[in-house]
């Protein structure tokens, strides 16, 4: 099995991508709504990722 050595950002980005696709697919009732929700969820993941990243940066001083 090949090994992956990702940074925090890369791992969290991949996690967000896979989770958003599944959440988009299973949540809504039309394809259009599914696409919108998937993109929205991915955006929220990224926002939280950058937000928490900066919070930790400033928290450490």
């Amino acid at each position: 099995m090949p090994k992956m050595n990702l940074s925090h950002f890369e791992a969290a980005f991949l996690f967000s991508l896979f989770a958003s696709v599944v959440m988009g697919v299973v949540t809504k009732r039309t394809d259009r709504d599914r696409l919108h929700y998937g993109v929205y969820t991915f955006g929220c993941f990224l926002l939280a990722l950058f937000g928490l990243g900066w919070l930790m940066y400033f928290g450490h001083g």
Partner: protein, 140 residues
């Protein structure tokens, strides 16, 4: 709105034969329930996402949980993690059959890998619930 919710709650349980094959296949093969119900596009997306997440977890050398007893938190984390791992279906079974046995070691990549493995199973539970709703006629 409230009446609609009440109506939805009062819907009788559909016969087991209508949804069990889709849910069982959905557990064994991520997206399999959707393929069985002729939702091929959605099934393919679920298959790719859950399998992709599980394989990334393996390549990051994440650890598989084993049920353990002890204090409440230990029991909760290990049993919950084990259930999450098992819910990946054939991916979990194959990795165990081929002898994947990564011990829990320090490092952010391994830690992410462990979370990827559990989350793949949890996402597959969402896919199984969706397959159930489609098979029961509650969703297109």
């Amino acid at each position: 709105m409230v009446k609609e919710k009440e109506l939805q709650q009062k819907q009788p349980m559909p016969p087991m034969g209508a949804w069990l094959p889709a849910v069982a296949l959905g557990w064994l093969i991520p997206g399999g329930g959707h393929f069985l119900l002729k939702r091929n596009g959605r099934g393919a997306l679920l298959l790719a996402s859950v399998t992709g997440m599980f394989l990334c977890g393996l390549m990051m050398q994440g650890a598989m949980f084993q049920p353990q007893s002890g204090d409440l938190l230990t029991t909760l984390i290990n049993t919950g993690g084990f259930i999450g791992d098992v819910c990946s279906g054939i991916l979990y079974l194959l990795s165990v059959c081929f002898g994947y046995n990564q011990v829990d070691i320090a490092g952010h990549v391994h830690d992410y890998g462990t979370k990827f493995l559990v989350t793949a199973g949890l996402l597959n539970i969402l896919a199984m619930v969706d397959a159930y709703e489609i098979a029961a006629g509650r969703k297109e």
